[in-house]
């Protein structure tokens, strides 16, 4: 039974179900019924969330039943490998980038993120690692801010001053 319950499909289904249930109660705060119209702003989100709960429950049931009947392979023993470490490192780099972006800004943080990713993905030539990220970032900044007038995050404090030197 444990082999069935630890299947990725089951775990993901449970997560989806819990998040859907939370959001269902969250959307009820704006459930104004027919004040704004016949359906109201919460109608479709509620419909989608109920559908998600039903589908996630169904997916979990299919997976558990399949494992118990032997038609679906049970979960294999998990061994933490280098591949898992690389995956987690990639997730961490993306998360740190997103968290720091409003404070450090695009101009300074993006080359650092690119260097980290290039190293993680196996690039070892120092010339490439320390030239391409800066050149690409500079190109992107010029393209987006000067040609397309798309604002990029500037950061705060000294990073704001640095960004003003370029765009």
């Amino acid at each position: 039974m444990l082999k069935a319950l630890l299947k990725a499909d089951v775990v993901i289904s449970v997560i989806v179900f819990i998040i859907s249930a939370f959001l269902f109660f969250e959307i009820k705060k704006v459930d104004s019924g027919d004040v704004y119209g016949e359906l109201g702003p919460a109608y479709w989100p509620k419909f989608i969330l109920v559908s998600l709960m039903v589908l996630s429950a169904g997916l979990a049931a299919i997976s558990v039943t399949g494992v118990l009947k032997g038609t679906i392979a049970g979960v294999k023993p998990f061994h933490f490998t280098v591949a898992n470490a690389r995956f987690l490192a990639a997730v961490a780099i993306i998360a740190v980038y997103l968290i720091l972006l409003p404070y450090v800004g695009f101009l300074v943080l993006t080359p650092l993120q690119m260097i980290a990713f290039m190293y993680l993905l196996g690039e070892r030539q120092k010339v490439w690692i320390f030239s391409l990220p800066f050149a690409m970032t500079f190109g992107i900044v010029l393209l987006f801010t000067k040609a397309m007038y798309v604002p990029l995050p500037r950061g705060v404090g000294i990073f704001l001053d640095i960004s003003h030197l370029v765009y």
Partner: protein
């Protein structure tokens, strides 16, 4: 007939051809960069067209738009990162084909099908657009709802054997689309007090998150080294006449579907490319091969212009 001759004279003069060439090149470059698209390109070029005569200005804007619509396929095929929303389906089979060492062939099929679809729509537009426009203008909210609902049923076609998972992910997509201010009531939904979510989640941002970040994580996990990839050369290989003949029904079907959907106001190339791909799967004798890098999978959505 005189109108047609005048149009040919205007288009095939040296200066308009130069502007068309430049516009297509610029559009392709814009389309290939995720985050930039042909609509943005045309919007940026509008001030420059004030100094041109109307024919040249229109040709330039049309060329940028058409180039940008195709350009999204380049990054979709080569990196599985669609440069534009409508190119996301092209990557389903284009990227596996590129990974199999046939990136040039995939690009060639995409270029050729995009060109044929574009020319087909131009011919139809010139011949029957006034009649079709009358039908299109009768579309109102119920018809759009029906069309959107029909488009959602495509999940059933694309889902294969894992229907529950497909619909689950489809509903997650719909849930993401409800984030932000409700257009009817003006009420914030799922923003949790964060101003960044008030405007909702941009489609291109969602696409980059789904495709590009997923691809990066997969590459990181698999440990594929990027060292030495600079030596890989990709040259476009246009499909042979025989290959085009094999794809004729897929190309024709998608061209007709793309033109019909494109005529409807508010329904764009993205819906057309998804429906084109879905129909290619449905009519194929080997639907199980889709997603592994088959030419029909690139030709199906490729006619969206």
């Amino acid at each position: 007939m005189e109108i047609w001759l005048a149009a040919f004279y205007n288009v095939f003069s040296p200066m308009p051809l130069l502007f068309i060439f430049g516009g297509v090149m610029m559009g392709v470059m814009l389309g290939a960069i995720p985050g930039l698209n042909s609509t943005m390109g045309t919007a940026l070029l509008i001030p420059f067209t004030y100094a041109m005569d109307s024919t040249t200005g229109l040709l330039l804007l049309t060329a940028v738009y058409c180039g940008g619509t195709f350009g999204g396929s380049i990054s979709a095929i080569l990196f599985n990162v669609p440069g534009s929303p409508e190119a996301s389906v092209t990557g389903f089979d284009g990227y596996p084909m590129a990974k199999a060492g046939q990136a040039g062939r995939a690009l060639g099929i995409a270029i050729m099908c995009s060109t044929i679809g574009g020319l087909f729509s131009v011919v139809v537009m010139n011949l029957v657009s006034p009649l079709l426009a009358e039908v299109a203008l009768t579309f109102s909210d119920p018809e759009y709802f029906a069309l959107a609902f029909a488009a959602l049923t495509l999940i059933a076609t694309l889902g294969g054997k894992q229907m529950t998972k497909s619909f689950l992910i489809g509903f997650v997509g719909l849930l993401i689309a409800t984030i932000g201010i409700d257009p009817m009531a003006g009420v914030e939904r799922f923003t949790f007090g964060w101003s960044g979510l008030i405007g909702g989640v941009n489609f291109i941002v969602a696409l980059i998150g789904a495709f590009a970040v997923g691809e990066i994580l997969l590459t990181a996990e698999s440990g594929s080294s990027i060292g030495g990839e600079g030596d890989v050369k990709v040259s476009t290989k246009l499909p042979s006449l025989l290959e085009l003949l094999k794809l004729r029904w897929t190309i024709l079907r998608s061209a007709v579907l793309g033109t019909m959907i494109g005529i409807l106001p508010g329904v764009g190339a993205t819906t057309a490319s998804f429906i084109g791909y879905s129909e290619a799967v449905r009519w194929s004798k080997h639907p199980e091969k889709f997603g592994t890098g088959v030419p029909e999978g690139i030709a199906g959505p490729g006619d969206r212009q």
